[in-house]
């Protein structure tokens, strides 16, 4: 089974949860001995782990025919791609993309991020997909998130191979219902054209069926998992006088930071010895600082700013409780990461991971009373903390990407069988 996957991010250079999920899933799938994955991303950095799959950088694929000397190409692409591969892919150019600005090799310069001209970048990615679809040999196409749907659809039209799209989020989650019509159109077309749609939770599946008008039979749920942390024991918890309750993530409307502040205020009305931390940054940060001041709890409420890499796990491990009051979270990997380092989690019922977690406290995102109650119980009742810590860690360690990989594989097999 050869799969051609289109993604946008891949570790170690990631901007959000999409990269983590892409890595985990492909790694889990690669455990199937006959699974060969080619993963396309706009701009690789060269330090990606390629031990279990092949990564192609869209920025190294020629889309406009340029005559170049082998030696010149070899020196230009040094370390990124072999010159032979370049010339072989060049044969896949069947359309005229001279309208797109390209460099001397006929390649497009991708940012690989989420720039302002994102929609243009998505279109350019589509051009790269056409070249790959003509040259590569594969059985199925798999597109991760809306940025890559157009590429997947184009590849499907060229190759005639079935397309599976993977919905990691929809614009309904990101915008609290205030949908951007351009993005919706791209998402909708991808879903309409897909042979099968994989969603990261039943919650997302409902959105796809109800808001994007997809038939039930075409949409499946494959829950995300979490990569085991190799150096899990290196994260320790310093004994402290005060308990620490942490919110960690982008401080945006979607994540419900204001409910965390309100719950904190309720807890602090009644108890001492608890501190609250809001880690991360985002467009709602200043508003939150204002709110904290207004509630008069600024002496017990701290902002850390953006955390990266190891700092994230360190922060989680140092906390006595992690809270994710997301208003709408397609999956939400961070509670699983918190539980990995033994930190009890409180999650909103409106998050996809609530569907698979038993040893986490679930409340409605708006129910600040329940949230405050749960925080109070975790910091005050040792048995509560101990149970959530031990059973939660055990639970998370049993949520494996290889199982998710098997489910995806079953969907591949079904889609291909239906084609024949």
């Amino acid at each position: 089974m050869k799969a051609l996957m289109f993604g946008w991010e891949f570790p170690p250079h990631i901007l959000g949860g999409l990269g983590t999920a892409s890595y985990g899933l492909t790694r889990g799938m690669a455990q199937q001995p006959d699974m060969h994955i080619t993963f396309v991303i706009p701009k690789p950095w060269g330090d990606e782990d390629q031990s279990f799959l092949k990564i192609i950088g869209a920025c190294n694929v020629p889309v406009v025919w340029k005559e170049n000397d082998w030696n010149y190409v070899n020196s230009r692409l040094a370390g990124r791609m072999s010159a032979d591969e370049y010339f072989w892919l060049r044969d896949g150019i069947k359309y005229d993309f001279t309208r797109i600005g390209t460099d001397d090799l006929g390649c497009i310069n991708f940012s690989g991020r989420y720039p302002d001209n994102l929609v243009e970048e998505i279109g350019n990615y589509e051009a790269v997909a056409s070249v790959l679809a003509h040259q590569l040999d594969f059985d199925i196409i798999h597109s991760h998130d809306w940025l890559t749907y157009p590429a997947g659809v184009f590849a499907k039209h060229i190759s005639g191979k079935p397309l599976v799209i993977h919905v990691h989020a929809t614009d309904f989650d990101r915008s609290r219902g205030n949908v951007n019509p351009t993005i919706y159109a791209i998402e909708r077309r991808g879903m309409d054209e897909a042979d099968h749609i994989i969603c990261v939770s039943n919650l997302t599946r409902r959105t796809v069926i109800e808001k994007y008008g997809q038939p039930e039979w075409k949409v499946s749920t494959v829950h995300n998992a979490v990569e085991p942390l190799a150096d899990v024991d290196s994260f320790t918890k310093t004994p402290r006088k005060d308990k620490v309750v942490t919110f960690l993530g982008r401080i945006t409307m979607q994540k419900g930071p204001e409910y965390f502040v309100e719950a904190a205020a309720r807890v602090l009305q009644k108890t001492d010895g608890v501190r609250f931390v809001m880690a991360g940054s985002g467009d709602k940060m200043n508003e939150m600082i204002d709110l904290v001041a207004k509630r008069g709890i600024a002496d017990k409420f701290h902002f850390t700013g953006f955390l990266r890499g190891r700092q994230v796990q360190e922060m989680l491990a140092e906390s006595d409780c992690y809270i994710m009051p997301s208003v709408s979270e397609p999956f939400g990997i961070s509670p699983l990461e918190a539980m990995q380092v033994g930190t009890p989690s409180i999650i909103s019922k409106q998050s996809g991971c609530a569907e698979i977690l038993q040893h986490a406290i679930k409340t409605d995102y708006w129910d600040i009373d329940a949230m405050a109650d749960a925080i109070y119980a975790i910091v005050k009742y040792p048995a509560m903390y101990k149970s959530l810590r031990e059973l939660g860690r055990e639970e998370v360690n049993n949520i494996k990407w290889s199982d998710a990989g098997l489910k995806v594989r079953a969907i591949y097999d079904k889609v291909i069988a239906e084609r024949r």
Partner: protein, 426 residues
Amino acid sequence: MRNLCFVFQLHAPYRLKRYRFFEIGQDHYYYDDFQTEDRIQQLAEQSYLPANKTILEMIKSSNGKFRCAYAISGIVLELLEQYAPEVIDSFKELADTKAVEFLATPFAYSLAAAYDQHEFERQLRLQAEKVKTLFGVETKAVWNTELMYSDEIADTVAKMGYKTILTEGARHILGWKSPNYVYNSSSSNKLKVLMRNPKLSDDIAFRFSDYSWKDYPLDAEKYVRWLSEIPEEEPIVNIWMGYEALGIRQHPTTGIFDFIKAIPYFAMERGMNFVTPSEATKKIAAADSIVAPYPISWSGEAKDLSAYNGNDLQQEALGKLFAVSERVNLCQSVLLKRDWQILQSDDHFLYMNHIDAGWTNYESAYEAFINYMNVLADFLQLVDEQYPTTIENEELNELLKTINNLEKENAELEAELKKAKRAKKA
């Protein structure tokens, strides 16, 4: 002759209301009366009333040959008095037939027997009083909470003067022995032990309407045939279940009531006899004795207390609850003592079970724990106001002893005074 012993058990708790931590110290009423009533009404209408009617008919039509026993928690008696008095009336009718025995059971269906023998005794006495006032009968046999039994419990029960205790025919205790005999308790040869036949009881209570069960459908003739196939020398079969098996666990449309009603007919045809637990232990000699160093119960696969105290949450809650036992009993406040009893119902701890939380009204074990602990925190504060935790339990015990001694002394002195007066008159 083969003896059949049917026992039905009834319990429902006072459900706790949603109690947030910021109510601690503010609100001292912990109960969700609506939910409690809703549950008891459901039990009364769908199970207790039609079942009582069926049993009464069975007793009458067999001229009192059909006999059975009830283990009803004090809380259920209270709740029925309040919300469904017609059920109490129908139990009175059953009591009047003299074919029914009422068993002693801890008032709140508490786990006290495993934590606090004094409290266990108190609860048995309290429930026995309730049974006496309502039905005018004495309790002679003990059905401990969830059929809990151990040598220590047997000891307490024997000292209270009970002659019979009921427990589960747990395989790890019985070994190769059969539950179909009467046994002696190893700690007291005055106390006889009856053991539930798990298979034949659960065939009715749990499997009766299970389509995937190989013996489905079960009818009375077949069931009685099974009873007759038990080796001749085994004198008694104990068929005990939660009363809600009739009407709720097994819906009326499954034919459960007709099934039960037909049993005496087929059983008597085969010369079988019906007994209540106390009759059984009077009539049948003990075959051997039972040793149970650790408490057993009828719950779960393990047949121990792990469903109620197996995880950290349950242990913390139970530990905190029973730690104030002495203090609470020193208190004068009737309300405080009553709250303490109600909070002991084992249901609260079952709801904290991660795997099987029974008829829970919580979404998770954690939610059950949070709510219970908030209530308990308020309760403990009230106890603390009366007897601060700064006073050690030992000191309290001394105090308690002094009070008890004083009372005794008082009584003695009074008696002496009376004697003296009488002597003077003479």
